[in-house]
Symmetry: C2
Subunit: 332 residues, 2 copies
């Protein structure tokens, strides 16, 4: 294992020091392991908090900023953060309007965010939770009951974040977050495994000519181990898997994200996006907005995920709203 780290035990601490040094718009509470926006919170604004295991950067810390999250709670690599982190975050950013937890559907995350919600309620903080479970690959998985939460998390954070910034109350921000999740689906393909600093070796083996179809963002098994194929066929498989779960009406407007899992060059993501766009055009789908890049990653895994959100005018309007987070910026 060759990584830009010091002691594998200190990766999260050291990365947070880097985040603090790099981004004056963020405040890093190193003791509690909480990233918030720098400066004081605007009274009356609903606060959005997300978190999860590290190794998926820029998710979630890179999405803290005006128009998106108020706080992120990073756990150790591929490990849920603890309830005390989320409670510290809630206390730091609640202004009386309540906080919304955005939780990817992994058993540890769900349990810890539930505990944190109880602790926050004891402190008089109103809490709602949006559970993200967009990955259509498998029903249950290594660390998940039900579907895994993956790429749609970014869309929930962006769109609900925009509504919170505009003054939406806790109920309406929660409703729109749930709406984004219910209208979004994802599917991923891994070309290689990934290596956590603690393990020091790849989490699974993948032969030189095989891919994991439907992989999870921690390398969880997907639907099948298959032979490598051209991008056009992989794009068709990804679109087909999503379509089987969420067929779209003619001329449906969508937000489409082709997301790199960390080790795949951007030029390949563009090749894949072109093929996805062609497959969607054949099905009469309109790509109204798109993202191509590394947003919800799995350390150094080579691979990509496709997320399709069935948009509507309100979702597009909120998508277009200004955002100024290190990992996603426009309009500000």
């Amino acid at each position: 294992m060759k990584k830009f780290i010091n002691d594998p035990e200190d990766v999260l601490r050291d990365a947070l020091a880097g985040v603090a040094a790099a981004h004056p718009t963020l405040a890093v509470d190193a003791a509690n392991r909480v990233i918030t926006r720098a400066g004081t919170a605007r009274p009356g604004k609903v606060a959005l908090i997300s978190g999860g295991g590290s190794g998926h950067e820029p998710l979630h810390g890179g999405f803290v900023g005006p128009g998106m999250l108020d706080a992120a709670c990073p756990g150790e690599v591929f490990t849920s953060p603890v309830p005390d982190q989320m409670l510290a975050a809630a206390k730091a950013v609640d202004t009386g309007a309540g906080v919304m937890f955005i939780v990817k559907n992994y058993t540890g995350d769900v349990m810890n965010f539930e505990l944190a919600a109880e602790l926050a309620a004891d402190e008089g903080i109103g809490v709602s939770t949006v559970l993200v479970d967009d990955d259509v690959a498998v029903q249950d998985s290594t660390w998940t009951a039900g579907r895994r939460g993956t790429g749609a998390t970014l869309l929930v954070e962006k769109i609900a974040g925009a509504l919170a910034e505009q003054g939406g109350d806790l109920a309406s921000v929660t409703e729109i977050g749930e709406r984004v999740n219910s209208r979004s689906r994802s599917f991923a393909i891994a070309l290689t495994s990934c290596t956590t600093p603690a393990a020091g070796k790849p989490g699974f083996d993948l032969p030189e000519d095989e891919i994991e179809v439907g992989v999870g963002i921690h390398g969880e098994p997907g639907r099948a181990r298959e032979k490598m194929r051209p991008a056009s066929e992989l794009a068709a498989a990804m679109v087909g898997a999503i379509w089987a779960d969420m067929p779209l009406p003619e001329a449906a407007e969508t937000i489409v994200m082709v997301n790199g899992l960390g080790g795949t060059p951007l030029i390949e993501l563009y090749v894949l996006f072109g093929e996805v766009a062609a497959r969607l055009a054949e099905r009469g789908v309109v790509i109204a907005r798109s993202l191509v890049g590394n947003y919800v990653t799995s350390l150094d895994m080579a691979g990509a995920s496709l997320t399709i959100c069935h948009a509507d005018p309100r979702l597009l309007e909120l998508w277009d709203a200004p955002v100024n987070a290190p990992g996603l910026r426009w309009g500000i």
Copy 2:
């Protein structure tokens, strides 16, 4: 080799199709292989054109947009674009105020941009050239006489692009581009090789416990093959190499970029940035602005480069100016 591609011969064509599908703010001339801003150019604006081999995305096509480039000419992977591409770009974006070529110092690129400048002059288009040669690792290299051009290219494109947007004339835009280059230095370390689609196998061999110190963005040899070390020591080596070439005065203000070469996870880049920031603080240097991410890449190479620009108030003001390119966005 497992990559999201179709035929290795078609990677550039297919990636350009993806760029066109993903970014309505860009126009892709597939026949000439030129990326420009969508819409018509503003009369009287100096046009900035860059280009080079593909495989370094988002450089250069991702930096086309208001506040940065007017056009990019992508060659095949790790291969210079041809003069006809640059001529087509110049004709597409010149509005009479002239065009500035931003050229990374590789023999093929330099030669082809020189030929293009002559062809453009024959068409009555005023052309200036800024040659970027910021990499302090080696004096001459595999495809270079003199120093290689690497990370500072982004800074030249951003800062000169801002001045051009504000109405700077060709001489002043060229002067500021040259100033950025003269005040910027870079140094890179590779943890792995990279694989071009055409070759189908890694461009060089690197043992499991060794790194290439001073590597070029095509995998060109650096200064030494060394044993892997902690991030703190690698950061010290990178800062030291740059400092030996460009020592900075006490309290110097800098723009610092820690750039991933394509296969390194963002969490590691943050660890490295934190260590770089600590080393610079020890030397009394102020990080006035920073970038952490994958901006000037080498396909799937694991590794990172450090770029330090000795800024001044004017450079910082132009750095802060709005930019709206797919690979770099703020303030618009």
